[in-house]
């Protein structure tokens, strides 16, 4: 089954360090104005007051972005929403690409003062009906994830299931490997 939502998170180089939320508020307003990142961008939602929460979000119609701090680890999160159909492989590619490009835009702008570590990407299937967070659920997407990891990070890439001990969270996995390179290199390896 095709999930209605998929997310991709690219951690910062210092994920445990505090994030400058005010800088992200300004930056995301600028992204909306300049249409810097993809999607129909709607508004900025400020959740800086929530500990280990979504930080500051850039809400869109078909994709949300945010400087997410779930589990105390900061990263650029892209959530592809309103998925109506398509091939899972292509949808995964698309989501990761949105996340990488947004991370690049944040880095490139510089005002938020964060750098990203593109050696790993965390992917979530945010649709409990289509993708249970169980061994069987993981089994049904493992092949696609491995193929994606290999494309991104080359031979020796790893796919590690995340949140296996918390079946109430969405099905998730971390894709990583040493052979990735810079964000641009990763993006070039994804179908667009």
């Amino acid at each position: 089954m095709i999930p209605k939502r998929i997310s991709a998170k690219i951690f910062t180089t210092e994920p445990e360090e505090a994030v400058d939320h005010d800088a992200f508020i300004a930056l995301f307003h600028e992204f909306i104005r300049e249409k810097t990142v993809e999607g129909l961008l709607l508004d900025v939602a400020d959740y800086a007051h929530v500990p280990e929460g979504p930080g500051v979000m850039l809400i869109g119609h078909d994709v949300d972005y945010g400087i997410d701090q779930t589990a105390g680890r900061a990263g650029l999160l892209a959530v592809k929403k309103r998925i109506e159909g398509g091939e899972l492989a292509a949808l995964l590619d698309e989501t990761v690409r949105l996340g990488l490009l947004a991370a690049k835009a944040v880095e490139g702008n510089g005002s938020a003062g964060v750098q990203f570590a593109p050696g790993a990407v965390q992917v979530q299937f945010i649709d409990r009906l289509a993708h249970e967070n169980s061994d069987a659920g993981f089994g049904s997407v493992k092949g696609e994830l491995e193929a994606l990891a290999k494309r991104l990070f080359g031979e020796g890439a790893q796919v590690e299931r995340a949140d296996a001990d918390e079946p109430r969270r969405p099905l998730a996995a971390t894709l990583s490997g040493a052979g990735g390179g810079a964000i641009d290199d990763l993006v070039a390896r994804l179908s667009s």
């Binding site: 307003h29 129909l40 709607l42 939602a45 400020d46 007051h49 929460g53 979504p54 809400i59 949300d64």
Partner: protein, 750 residues
């Protein structure tokens, strides 16, 4: 297979049918086969609201932009189909089980932004939800016994009640089963389908505390026992909003068996006689005020006699369990042992001992009412492990855990802290309440949440050094006069408005001081003047410093405000009222948590800079100072003078508008009202999109029928009206000058 098939046999049949029906209406509307107004009414009755920018327009700080949504039918007048909206989820008296929390968490991740927001009426809200997802959202909630039906619309809204019910030392008895009974009885009842406006009920276990807030509700029920029999004192006609009213006593004692039929009779009277055409006069408070409580009571008693008998009047009450759940073990004292860092501070503010020996109620001080999906799941685990009882949401946008064994308090503190929801300072000055404001509300004028977050952060940082009397104060913020943040009930309240300075619009907050939190919110705070949004933290500091220093023995904040009077408080606030020109202090021209240059209502009409101070600007000052004098007179007990001054303040503001185009208007009241009516009211130029002619009507009504006698309430009401009228005059002038600027710019381009 979809959620419909998966959950088919888990949902109450009637609920399932209703949701399926809603689902098909969504489909019909999308195909253009259902009228947009009919669809809007349908979705609102199901708690599916619009949200800011859903007209497809948004000002980005420089210019209004059109959001490039696909061109499909609307969800309602000026509401784009694809624009995300808000879903309000009804939580009767705030009671929520661990299983329900988990489903709420799932839904927040799959349909919203992974944030659950607790409202000031104990509901949950999800934001940024797309219309196509709403039916499945409803199904998943319905499968665990939660409904969104009548969370909005002209119906009986969520039944609220003290979150401590069943555990509280001051309560007469546990109101929860009766709140549940009223909710079940009124839900979808035929007699509540034809209201002119919403009806908000609330239960309280006692008269002395605030928790039930019955005095500000359309219908309020206070637990009483008479001759060994349980019953309720019933009050009606309270409400906040633009013109706040305290509820009046319908009955000092109604036995529990008569609770539901009495409410049914009230509903019928309200449906039959309440205003239907003019939304702004349609709440039951206006009907009660118009008829007088004696006549209203007589009508309800007559109506009661004619009601056909309904077995549910008693069966619903008999069937209810007294408490929901059993504690996990016997109550036990908190042992000596090691206490983790921060525990003692948290214990002093966030735990309250129960009537039942050895147990406590623990408050989660949720920042601005928000918690993440992960935190909701952690909370469900904590509730299962340490409390046998349900959790409750609170009107202060918090949650409480009940029946926590004192012996488990350390473990609960550690678990909450681990989950990021163990903040101390619950129900203190740090624990700021705020409506959604400009973040998501279409009516928001100023950033109530932005200010709330800022104050919370600043106050938390210095909380340890605050005197106890200051720590105990409450701050509540609304983004506009509608009062969803309940600013009238706070020691320090704010509501958003705007002012024109230096040719630009500057976000402001009206300061409301001295609301009474005890006695079910028995007295409302008083307006003290508008300050620029960016000065609000300094104003809080100045007020709390002055209170800490000037307070006599055990004087409450309200008593202190009353003693120093409006003049005294104005002295404190005045230095912060001024806004420097844009070139010197541009930060004043944008709001908290937002870098865009401020515009009102996101109407998107960019205002040209460099305008001179207008004639209106000079004249309206007179109205404001008369309004101020009216407050002083009220304080000094001269009600007639206060009422008259408030009326004259409205006249001055109206005259300022009229003089924009008819400079020779006299100072005669009838002349002013005649000109105002012809030029600004009948033409609807004075109307705004939401309040329509409401505020203009205040002046016209007062001019047509001067009060025969004036008491404190009448004077206070006129003062409120005059403030709103003046605000509306400002807004009208802003709209008109913006339109004139646009026209001038268009001419210049030709």
């Amino acid at each position: 297979m979809g959620w419909k098939e998966v959950l088919n046999d888990k949902i109450d049949t009637a609920w399932a049918e209703e949701i399926d029906h809603f689902d098909s209406q969504v489909a019909l509307r999308k195909q253009g086969k259902l009228d947009e107004k009919v669809f809007a009414e349908t979705r609102l009755r199901r708690g599916v609201y619009g949200q800011r920018y859903d007209n497809g327009k948004r000002h980005d700080g420089f210019a209004e932009q059109t959001l490039a949504f696909a061109d499909v039918p609307t969800k309602g007048p000026e509401t784009v189909w694809d624009a995300p909206g808000m879903c309000r989820i009804k939580i009767p008296y705030g009671g929520v089980s661990p299983e329900q929390m988990e489903v709420l968490a799932d839904c927040s991740e799959e349909y919203s932004d992974a944030i659950l927001h607790v409202t000031t009426r104990q509901d949950f809200q999800l934001h940024f939800v797309h219309i196509e997802d709403t039916a499945d959202l409803m199904r998943r909630l319905a499968a665990v016994g939660i409904t969104t039906r009548e969370a909005c619309g002209n119906s009986v809204r969520n039944v609220t009640g003290c979150p401590l019910a069943g555990t509280c030392k001051t309560e007469t008895f546990d109101i929860s089963p009766y709140a549940q009974a009223l909710m079940t009885f009124m839900h979808g009842h035929p007699d509540v389908q034809d209201f002119g406006r919403k009806f908000k009920p609330a239960f309280s276990g006692c008269e002395t505390e605030a928790c039930g807030l019955v005095q500000m509700h359309d219908g309020g029920y206070v637990a009483k026992v008479k001759d060994g029999q349980k019953g309720f004192k019933i009050v009606v006609g309270g409400g906040l909003g633009a013109v706040p009213h305290q509820a009046e006593v319908l009955s000092e004692f109604t036995p529990v068996e008569e609770l539901l039929p009495t409410m049914q009779a009230v509903a019928r009277v309200f449906a039959r006689l309440g205003e239907k055409q003019n939304r702004n006069r349609a709440r039951i408070k206006f009907l009660v005020a118009k008829l007088g409580i004696e006549e209203f009571r007589r009508l309800v008693e007559e109506e009661r006699k004619t009601l056909p008998h309904d077995d549910r009047w008693t069966s619903l009450i008999e069937d209810m369990a007294e408490t929901s759940g059993e504690p996990v073990g016997p109550g036990e004292a908190l042992a000596g042992g090691d206490r983790p860092e921060g525990f003692d501070e948290w214990l002093s503010t966030n735990a309250r001992s129960q009537r039942q020996e050895g147990y406590s109620v623990v408050t989660l001080n949720l920042p601005l009412g928000d918690l993440t999906a992960d935190q909701a799941r952690a909370l469900a685990d904590i509730a299962r492990r340490y409390t046998g009882d349900n959790m409750r949401t609170t009107v202060e946008q918090n949650m409480v855990l009940r029946f926590v064994r004192n012996a488990d308090l350390v473990a609960v503190f550690e678990a909450l802290t681990q989950a990021g929801i163990g903040a101390p300072g619950g129900e203190t000055i740090v624990d700021v309440t705020s409506c959604p404001g400009t973040d998501t509300c279409k009516l928001g004028i100023a950033a109530s949440r932005g200010l709330g977050g800022e104050l919370r952060q600043r106050l938390a940082a210095k909380s340890a050094s605050l005197p106890d009397a200051v720590k105990a104060l409450r701050i509540k913020i609304s983004g506009c006069f509608n009062s969803c943040g309940q600013h009238h009930l706070a020691d320090i309240g704010f509501y958003g408005n705007s002012r024109k300075v230096d040719g630009r619009t500057v976000p402001h907050f009206q300061v409301i001081l001295g609301g009474q939190w005890t006695e079910n919110a028995g007295q409302y705070g008083m307006a003290m003047g508008s300050i620029p949004s960016k000065a609000a933290p300094q104003v809080v500091e100045a007020l709390t410093d002055a209170y800490a220093q000037g307070r006599e023995s055990n004087e409450t904040f309200r008593e202190w405000v009353e003693r120093i009077g409006k003049r005294g408080t104005r002295e404190i606030i005045k230095p912060f009222m001024k806004v420097a020109p844009y070139a010197e202090a541009p930060e004043f021209y944008s709001d908290w948590g937002d870098v865009r240059e401020f515009t009102i209502g996101d109407l998107g009409i960019g205002e040209c800079a460099g305008e001179m101070v207008s004639l209106f600007g000079i004249e309206v000052v007179k109205a404001e100072s008369q309004g101020f004098d009216a407050q002083v007179a009220l304080e000094e007990g001269d009600f007639e003078e206060a009422e008259d001054l408030a009326y004259r303040a409205m006249l001055s503001a109206a005259r300022a508008l009229v003089r924009l185009e008819y400079i020779d208007v006299t100072e005669d009241a009838n002349d002013i009202v005649k000109e105002f009516k012809a030029r600004f009211f009948d033409t609807e130029r004075f109307f705004d999109r939401f309040a329509k002619g409401k505020f203009g009507q205040y002046l016209i009504d007062r001019n047509a029928t001067p009060p025969a006698s004036v008491d404190r309430d009448e004077a206070a009401r006129r003062i409120e009206e005059s403030q709103l009228f003046i605000e509306a005059a400002h807004a009208c002038e802003l709209r008109e000058s913006a339109a004139a600027n646009l026209a001038a710019a268009a001419r210049a381009e030709q």
